[in-house]
């Protein structure tokens, strides 16, 4: 009885098989070997033998896949490589970095260098004077050390710190640089200036750091004849204003929606140079008193031949601090004129 080989399962005749029917036994062995090696047959030049399934001795001839790595050559920034076996490559850029925060920057085409991390609050900025074209420099916040500090340029492209001033000081310019200045009592500081144009002018975001406000209008001229100048504060169009005037407006009225009827202006013409109006907002930043507005104006009348001199006062019946002033004509737009707002200490 034939036995089988342990690895391939070929039918190997025993001595008895060979004696009894040697030819058949050898034929059986040959057939067994032939059958198991059948997959090795065939193939073409360049093909390689590949497993066709997980079954033993199940092979197939396949074309060698194009693109298989034949070798690894180290380029710029890489070391190592080889053409066979296990290949090791090392990233030189990675090994050049030695410290947390390090970065790699180019020094030219295909060249690089380690840029060591800067110190806290520094930022990376371009600098063509550096070999690698960049440098770490102090970020703006590093310059600021105290609450209220300001940044300014002490020279071109040079940041500097202006320490916070003391309470009540205002920022002014001295020697071309900003500096905090103490304003003496009664001093005027110009806060805003511009032209009267359009249908309404709003002077907003007024600082509350002054005692009074002084608003001067020069050459007030409405586009509509005899239109008067009206005003509001804090965009309050409710019936919160009381008006008292003299001259052409000798009325006393409460519940007005603006401090109004205080000055009439002639429509723009050659005779009229407009007028001048001065308003003072007393203790405008107070949060405990209603606000008094003193009014003085000298304006050319459009329909009458003379000029109107009007003085009086208005009250805004609110304890809120005034932070904006609105101006508009009772009819139509502004034609011309300028405004200057001063803070009075």
């Amino acid at each position: 009885m034939a036995t089988t080989t342990p690895n391939f399962g070929w039918s190997v005749p025993t001595s008895t098989d060979l004696v009894k029917d040697g030819a058949t036994a050898i034929e059986t062995l040959g057939d067994s070997i032939d059958a198991s090696l059948v997959d090795l047959k065939g193939g073409t030049t360049g093909q390689v033998l590949s497993k066709n399934s997980n079954t033993d001795m199940d092979f197939i001839w396949v074309t060698d896949a194009a693109g298989d790595i034949q070798g690894v050559t180290a380029g710029v920034g890489i070391s190592g490589g080889g053409t066979s076996g296990t290949v090791t490559v090392t990233n030189d850029m990675a090994t050049s970095m030695t410290t947390k925060g390090d970065i790699i920057v180019a020094t030219g085409s295909s060249t690089y260098v380690r840029q060591a991390v800067g110190t806290n609050n520094q930022v990376l900025m371009a600098d063509s004077a550096q070999a690698d074209g960049v440098k770490y420099a102090n970020e703006a916040t590093a310059t600021l050390t105290t609450t209220g500090d300001l940044l300014y340029a002490s020279a071109a492209n040079t940041l500097a710190r202006r320490a916070i001033g003391t309470s009540g000081q205002v920022l002014s310019v001295s020697g071309g640089l900003p500096t905090w200045t103490t304003i003496s009592a009664g001093a005027l500081t110009e806060l805003a200036t511009g032209s009267l144009s359009g249908s309404s002018v709003s002077i907003s975001s007024i600082s509350g750091s002054y005692r009074n406000l002084w608003l001067v209008l020069k050459g007030f001229t409405p586009a509509t004849n005899d239109a008067s100048l009206n005003g509001r504060v804090n965009n309050d169009s409710s019936s919160a204003y009381t008006n008292r005037g003299s001259g052409a407006t000798s009325d006393y009225s409460i519940g007005n929606t603006s401090w109004n009827n205080l000055s009439y202006g002639a429509k723009n013409n050659s005779e009229s140079a407009g007028g001048i109006c001065v308003f003072e907002f007393l203790e405008y930043a107070s949060t405990s008193n209603n606000k008094m507005i003193l009014k003085n104006s000298f304006t050319k009348s459009g329909s009458a031949t003379g000029w109107n001199y009007i003085d009086g006062f208005a009250q805004w019946n609110s304890t809120s601090a005034i932070d904006s002033i609105q101006l508009f004509c009772s009819s139509g737009n502004f034609s011309s004129g300028t405004y200057v707002l001063y803070g009075v200490k």
């Binding site: 511009g194 309404s200 709003s202 002077i203 007024i206 600082s207 603006s258």
Partner: protein, 66 residues
């Protein structure tokens, strides 16, 4: 038709913006214009009634006040 414009001068930044009024601003501005026109008409009617009551002309009234 272009809307009336508003000039906003920010004192803190010195930024000046001049733009068309938005709907809310326009509504207030138009109400102001209407109120001023109404007040003016009321005042003129009262003045005319007074002149009529006094039996004098407007020029005569100006002369009296001059």
């Amino acid at each position: 038709m272009a809307k009336p414009t508003i000039k906003i001068h920010n004192v803190e930044t010195d930024e000046v913006i001049e733009r068309e009024m938005n709907d809310a601003e326009l509504a207030i501005w138009e109400a102001d214009q209407l109120k001023a026109a109404t007040d003016e008409a009321t005042k003129a009617a009262a003045k005319a009634a007074l002149l009529s009551k006094l039996g004098i002309t407007e020029d005569e009234a100006k002369l009296l006040l001059s």
